[in-house]
């Protein structure tokens, strides 16, 4: 699977990061209470995921591999991503005020988001080139955004629905997510992707 278009579709729909890979569930349930916040979170994830996949790819291929330090991967990646997010936050605050106002509050939350770290690991495990890794990260970010916005819309309706008290909140959200995952299973096998 080398074609970037297929990698994008696979990451976007077929192996959707939330519903099929179970990464990034904390923001999925935590920030999906309103469509507006879900959109902000989705945009921030696309942005950081792309940057993180570049930086970690370079760190891995330029530093860890040549110096035979692959066993430090976990520690290096998490520290790289944490400092990257801090740096991006400061840079946006100073230079791109409007973008900062839109994404700002979500950026610190992303540091400990397992979706970002997971994607950088998958990039390495799949032996992607820099281009394919970028496409993979963007596709995954869009998949995250699509699902979190749709789910926020569902939850806005759920708040108004008459639901048994013991099912309110998390349980009914999980069951709604289960039905969404069932719908996404329909994409498996699309263009021969699994």
């Amino acid at each position: 699977m080398k074609d970037p278009a297929l990698i994008f579709l696979g990451a976007f729909l077929v192996n959707n990061i939330i519903l099929m890979r179970f990464l990034g569930l904390c923001p999925f349930f935590g920030v999906s209470t309103a469509v507006k916040t879900a959109t902000g979170m989705g945009m921030a994830v696309i942005f950081v995921m792309t940057l993180a996949s570049w930086i970690t790819w370079i760190v891995y291929h330029a530093i860890l591999l040549p110096f035979d330090l692959v066993f430090l991967r976990t520690a290096t990646f998490i520290l790289t991503i944490a400092s990257l997010v801090q740096l991006v936050e400061m840079f946006l605050k100073k230079s791109f005020r409007t973008l900062y106002n839109a994404l700002g509050i979500y950026l610190p939350l992303i540091t400990t988001n397992c979706a970002i770290l997971g994607i950088t690991f998958l990039n390495i495990d799949n032996k992607f080139s820099l281009l394919n890794g970028t496409v993979f990260a963007i596709g995954t970010g869009f998949g995250f955004t699509l699902v979190i916005i749709t789910f926020a819309a569902i939850r806005e309706r759920l708040d108004l629905a008459p639901i048994n008290p013991s099912m309110r909140g998390y349980p009914i959200s999980f069951i709604a997510a289960s039905l969404m995952a069932l719908a996404f299973l329909g994409f498996s096998g699309l263009f021969g992707l699994t």
Binding site: F22, I78, C114, P165, P171, A177
Partner: protein
């Protein structure tokens, strides 16, 4: 007596996954079978226990301003150890768990216990807390794994339960991703109804 409560608290009353809803990613992703759920639970317990001990030992030395990076470094050290250990001794399990073994490092449960408990209490307390919370996590993953494996594959730890007929056409839905969301949703609803009555 107080120490005993420190240990049991994390297992049932403040179960991370089923009561507090923390550490959901590995809980949903690796509970497809009993073996995977149990293996993931033990791996996370190992990391939690030893990072709790080390952080509690160092709690007077760690400067407050840089405590989070230090916690993350300690945690990632133990994650790397368990990562390579499983790769060497449990290759099948390691392949099944995949990227979720290195991802133990961002499990908010472990950083949460380091920040809220281990950095403030004695080594013995931190050990008991780590053991209790870890066993609670293992219990939750094993229960979910058992439900999903029995219904979705007709087996328990690979042993056929409902006979060959069911094994041939089980509720495949349950071992696929939607089944994970459904099982935890129903478990959470049952807990809300029968266990946490007094809270509502």
């Amino acid at each position: 007596m107080r120490r005993w409560q420190l240990f049991t608290r994390g297992i049932v009353k403040e179960n991370m996954v089923l009561v507090l809803m923390i550490g959901l990613c590995p809980a949903l992703a690796t509970s497809g079978t009993v073996r995977d759920g149990f293996g993931m639970g033990l791996a996370a317990t190992f990391v939690l226990l030893f990072s709790n001990i080390i952080i509690s030992l160092l709690r007077k030395k760690i400067p407050n301003e840089v405590r989070i990076p230090i916690f993350i470094l300690v945690i990632s050290t133990f994650v790397t150890i368990i990562d390579y250990f499983m790769q060497a001794f449990q290759p099948d399990l390691y392949r099944a768990l995949g990227v979720f073994v290195p991802l133990i490092v961002v499990n908010c449960m472990i950083l949460g216990r380091a920040e809220a408990f281990a950095s403030k209490y004695s080594v013995l307390d931190a050990t008991l807390d780590g053991l209790g919370v870890g066993l609670g996590f293992t219990l939750a993953l094993t229960v979910m794994g058992a439900i999903r494996e029995i219904l979705g594959n007709g087996t328990f730890l690979g042993i056929v339960i409902f006979g060959e007929g069911f094994k041939k056409s089980p509720v495949i839905f349950m071992i696929l991703p939607p089944g994970a969301f459904l099982v935890i949703g129903v478990l959470k609803a049952l807990i809300n109804k029968y266990v946490r009555k007094e809270i509502r």
